[in-house]
C-alpha cells in the first residue's frame, strides 16, 4: 500500500550482511572471487566497522566498503561527553520549539503560562491538549526508534539495518489491514492494539524461524528471515488493500506515519512498553561490545551470547512495536541516526546507544515542526518529512567521509 515497495527497500538494507555470507562461502574454496575479496580487504582502510573483527571473512564487506571514520579513531571521552551534552541541549531546544510553534500563532509567554499556570482558555488548551501530547509522543517514539535502530544494527552486525527489518512495520500494517478489511475495524483506538499485536507477532515469528538452526540466532539469518517475512506480509497487505478501496483509503493515512491527533491515552498505553524496552536495550550495551568481536571471542570473554541477542531482540520488538502502533510506520530515523552517530562516537555501543536515544527524537521533533510550517496552516505528516530532511544529511556525510580518504 505504501508507494515504495518495502520489500525492495529492506532487501537493500540486508545487503552488507548478505555479503558476509558470500564472502564466507567464497573463501571456502579458492577462486577468483575469493582472491578479489582478499585483495580488497587488504586495500581497505581502517574503518569504524573494521574495528570489530568478526572472523577472517566476515570483515570483508565492512573493511572494503564502509566509509572510514573521519578524524581520530579513538574519540576522546571528553569530546563524547561534550557531544552528548550538546545533543541533550539540542533536544531541549527542539522540545521547546515544538511546544511553541503550530498552526495557531501563540507568543512564547502564552505557551509558558499555559504550562505553569493553565487558566483553561482556548490558547492554553491548544498547548496542553494538542501540542504537549504531540511533543511527548515525539520524544517517546523518537527515542524508541533511535535506540531500536542502534540495537538492530549491532545485533545484525549490519550498519544499514533498519528496525523494520524484524518485520515489525510489516506485521503491524498487516494486522491493521486484516482488522480493517475483514473485521470492519474503524476506530483508531483499536489500531493501536492491533498494530502492537501484529508487530510483536511478526518479530517473534522472525526470531523463532531464525533461531531454528544450529547455534541459535545468527545475524545473517535474522536479517534474511526478517526481509523475507516483511516482503510476504507487505505483499499480502497491499493485495488486500488494492482489492478493497475502503481499506486502501484507511491504510494510506496510517501508512504515512503521524504523531498528530492521536486518540487519548495513546501515550499511557505505550509508555510501559517503551520504558521496559529502553532499560533492556541500554543494559545490552556492554555485552553487545563483546559480541562485536565475533561469537568465539565474545564467549571467551564470558559474554552470554544467546541471552544478549534475545534481550536485544525483545527490546527492539517492544520499542518498535509500541512506536509503530502509536504513530504508524516512520522510516529512516532508526536507520540513519545510529549510522550517523557512529561517525561521532566510534564503535563503542556504550556511547552509540545513548547518543541515538537523544538524537533520534531531535530529528523527529524538527521534522514534525517543519511539517507544521512548510504548508502552514495545514500540516505534513512527520513520516513524510523525516526522510526529506534526513536523507540530504546522510548523503553529505557519506560523500565527505569518502573525500577524506585517498
Amino acid at each position: 500500500m505504501g508507494p515504495s515497495n518495502p520489500a525492495d527497500r529492506s532487501a537493500a538494507l540486508a545487503r552488507p550482511a548478505e555479503t558476509e555470507e558470500t564472502a564466507v562461502n567464497r573463501s571456502a574454496g579458492p577462486g577468483p572471487a575469493a582472491t578479489a575479496s582478499a585483495d580488497r580487504a587488504a586495500s581497505g582502510g581502517l574503518s569504524t566497522d573494521a574495528a570489530r573483527p568478526t572472523g577472517p571473512a566476515a570483515v570483508v564487506p565492512s573493511a572494503t566498503d564502509h566509509p572510514p571514520a573521519p578524524g581520530p579513531v579513538a574519540v576522546s571521552r571528553r569530546r563524547r561527553l561534550l557531544g552528548l551534552a550538546a545533543s541533550v541541549a539540542a533536544l531541549a531546544l527542539a522540545t521547546a520549539v515544538s511546544l511553541a510553534v503550530g498552526s495557531a500563532p501563540l507568543p512564547p509567554s502564552t505557551v509558558w503560562a499555559a504550562l505553569t499556570a493553565p487558566d483553561g482558555s482556548l490558547d492554553h488548551l491548544t498547548v496542553l491538549d494538542l501540542r504537549l501530547p504531540r511533543t511527548l509522543l515525539a520524544l517517546l517514539v523518537g527515542a524508541a526508534l533511535g535506540l531500536a535502530g542502534a540495537l538492530i544494527q549491532a545485533l545484525t552486525r549490519n550498519p544499514l539495518a533498519d528496525p523494520g527489518i524484524l518485520g515489525v512495520n510489516a506485521g503491524a500494517g498487516f494486522a491493521i489491514v486484516l482488522g480493517v478489511a475483514l473485521f470492519g475495524v474503524t476506530r483508531i483506538q483499536q489500531y493501536l492494539w492491533l498494530g502492537f499485536a501484529g508487530a510483536v507477532t511478526a518479530a517473534v515469528v522472525v526470531y523463532v524461524i531464525a533461531a531454528r538452526g544450529p547455534g541459535g540466532v545468527n545475524p545473517l539469518r535474522l536479517t534474511l528471515v526478517g526481509v523475507a517475512l516483511s516482503a510476504v506480509l507487505s505483499g499480502a497487505s497491499s493485495t488486500l488493500a488494492l482489492i478493497d478501496p475502503r481499506t486502501f483509503d484507511r491504510m494510506r493515512f496510517w501508512g504515512a506515519g503521524s504523531i498528530a491527533d492521536r486518540p487519548d491515552g495513546t501515550i499511557a498505553a505505550i509508555l510501559p512498553f517503551i520504558l521496559i524496552g529502553l532499560a533492556l536495550g541500554l543494559a545490552c550495551a556492554r555485552p553487545l561490545n563483546a559480541l562485536a568481536l565475533g561469537d568465539d571471542m565474545a564467549r571467551a570473554q564470558g559474554a552470554r551470547i544467546v541471552l544478549t541477542r534475545t534481550a536485544g531482540v525483545v527490546a527492539v520488538t517492544l520499542l518498535c512495536g509500541a512506536a509503530t502502533a502509536a504513530a504508524g510506520p516512520i522510516g529512516f530515523i532508526g536507520l540513519m541516526i545510529p549510522h550517523a552517530v557512529r561517525w561521532l562516537t566510534g564503535p563503542d555501543q556504550r556511547w552509540i546507544l545513548p547518543f541515538s536515544l537523544v538524537l533520534a527524537p531531535v530529528l523527529l521533533l524538527v521534522a514534525d515542526v517543519l511539517g507544521r510550517l512548510v504548508v502552514w496552516p495545514a500540516e505534513l505528516q512527520v513520516g513524510v518529512v523525516t526522510a526529506l530532511i534526513g536523507a540530504p544529511v546522510l548523503i553529505l556525510m557519506v560523500r565527505r567521509a569518502k573525500a577524506a580518504t585517498p
Binding site: P16, P214, S238, G383, I395
Partner: protein
C-alpha cells in the same frame, strides 16, 4: 554432470558445460510451457491444437481474437519482461558484488513511481503518460544517485547508502501524494505501483521488445566486462579493462532492462532478486553471474507468477507484482529453512 565439451568454429571457440546446456534446455522448455499454458487457460479454454490453429497466419474466428489479441501479448510480455528482470538482476548483483543487489538499489522503481505520480497529478492517463513518467522518473533517480555517489570512482557501499537516501526522499514524496490526492488518483497510482500485466496490449509489448532487443546488443560485451570486474577493480584494470567506463555501461544496461519493464507494467518485485540466485544454484557455478541462465529463470518465474495472478482467484485477476512478492518471500523463507536443516 560436470563434463564439458568445446565447440570451435573458425576463430570462435567456447567451452560448454553439459550441465549448463541441460539446464538451459530444460528452462527453455519451461518457458515454452508457461507461454503455452497462458495461451490455453482462461474463461474460454482452448486445447494446444486450437491455439496453434489460431496462431496460423490465415486463421479467423473468435479463437484468433482470443489468442492473438488478448492472450498473446500478455504471455509474451511475461516471458520477455521476466528475462529482462533476470538479466538486470544478474548485472546488478555482479556489479555491487552482492547477492541481494537489484536495480532498486539506485532508486529506480521509487523514482518511476514518483514520475507516474507526477503524470497523474498533471492529468495524464493511459499507457503513454505512465510510461513517460516512469521512464523519466526512474532514469532521473538513477542518474541522480549515480552522480551523488560518484566522487573519485564508484564504490558499491556508497552507491547503496545514497540509493537508500534518495529512495527514502522520493518515497516520502510518493506518500505525500497518496495522502493528499483524492482516493481515485491515489488508488490508480497504487494499482500501477503493484505491477500488473492485466489488460496489457500489443503496442507496449512491441515497444518494450524493440527496446530490449537494442539493449541486448550490448550484452556480449557486458558479460565479458562483468566477469573481469568480478576479479576486483585493480585486477581488472591491470588486465586492461576500462573500469569506470565498464561500470557506467553495466549500470546503464541494468537500469535500461528494468526501465523497459517498469514502463510497461509498473514495478515487479523479487524477480530480479531471485532469478540470478536460482540460475546460479541450477548451473552449479556459485559466484559467477550467468546472464543467459538468469534470463531464462526470470522468464519462467514471471510466466509462472502471471499464471497464478490470472487464475488463482477466479474472476479477480491479481497484480503479478503481488504474486511475485508473495512467492519470492515464501521461497526465501523456505530456502533459509532448508539450508538450516542441512547445516
Amino acid at each position: 554432470m560436470n563434463g564439458a565439451f568445446t565447440v570451435r568454429i573458425g576463430r570462435f571457440s567456447r567451452r560448454w558445460s553439459i550441465r549448463a546446456l541441460a539446464v538451459g534446455v530444460l528452462l527453455t522448455a519451461a518457458v515454452l510451457a508457461c507461454t503455452a499454458a497462458s495461451l490455453m487457460i482462461g474463461s474460454r479454454s482452448l486445447s494446444l491444437a486450437e491455439v496453434l490453429a489460431a496462431l496460423a497466419p490465415d486463421a479467423h474466428g473468435p479463437n484468433r481474437l482470443v489468442v492473438v489479441e488478448w492472450r498473446a501479448p500478455r504471455a509474451l510480455a511475461a516471458a520477455l519482461f521476466g528475462a529482462c528482470l533476470g538479466v538486470s538482476g544478474a548485472i546488478f548483483q555482479s556489479l555491487t558484488r552482492n547477492p541481494l543487489g537489484s536495480p532498486d538499489v539506485i532508486g529506480l522503481n521509487t523514482g518511476a513511481y514518483t514520475g507516474v505520480v507526477f503524470a497523474i497529478t498533471v492529468g495524464g492517463t493511459g499507457y503513454l503518460a505512465y510510461a513517460a513518467g516512469a521512464i523519466a522518473g526512474g532514469l532521473g533517480a538513477a542518474a541522480l544517485v549515480y552522480l551523488l555517489a560518484f566522487s573519485g570512482g564508484m564504490r558499491g557501499f556508497r552507491l547503496i547508502i545514497v540509493g537508500i537516501a534518495v529512495s527514502a526522499m522520493l518515497s516520502s514524496v510518493n506518500t505525500w501524494f497518496s495522502v493528499k490526492a483524492d482516493l481515485d488518483e491515489a488508488l490508480r497510482a497504487a494499482v500501477w505501483g503493484a505491477g500488473s500485466l492485466n489488460g496489457i496490449e500489443w503496442p507496449p509489448v512491441a515497444f518494450a521488445a524493440a527496446a530490449a532487443a537494442l539493449l541486448a546488443l550490448a550484452l556480449p560485451v557486458a558479460g565479458r566486462r562483468m566477469r573481469q570486474l568480478e576479479l576486483g577493480d585493480e585486477t581488472a584494470a591491470m588486465h586492461g579493462v576500462p573500469v569506470e567506463r565498464s561500470k557506467i555501461l553495466l549500470v546503464g544496461l541494468g537500469v535500461g532492462f528494468t526501465a523497459v519493464v517498469t514502463a510497461a507494467t509498473g514495478p515487479v518485485a523479487f524477480v530480479a532478486l531471485a532469478a540470478p540466485q536460482i540460475a546460479r544454484r541450477l548451473s552449479g557455478r556459485p559466484g559467477s553471474a550467468d546472464l543467459a541462465g538468469s534470463a531464462l529463470v526470470g522468464a519462467v518465474l514471471l510466466g509462472g507468477a502471471d499464471l497464478i495472478a490470472q487464475h488463482a482467484i477466479p474472476g479477480t485477476p491479481m497484480p503479478v507484482g503481488a504474486v511475485t512478492v508473495l512467492l519470492g518471500g515464501a521461497y526465501l523463507v523456505w530456502l533459509l529453512l532448508r539450508e538450516q536443516g542441512r547445516g
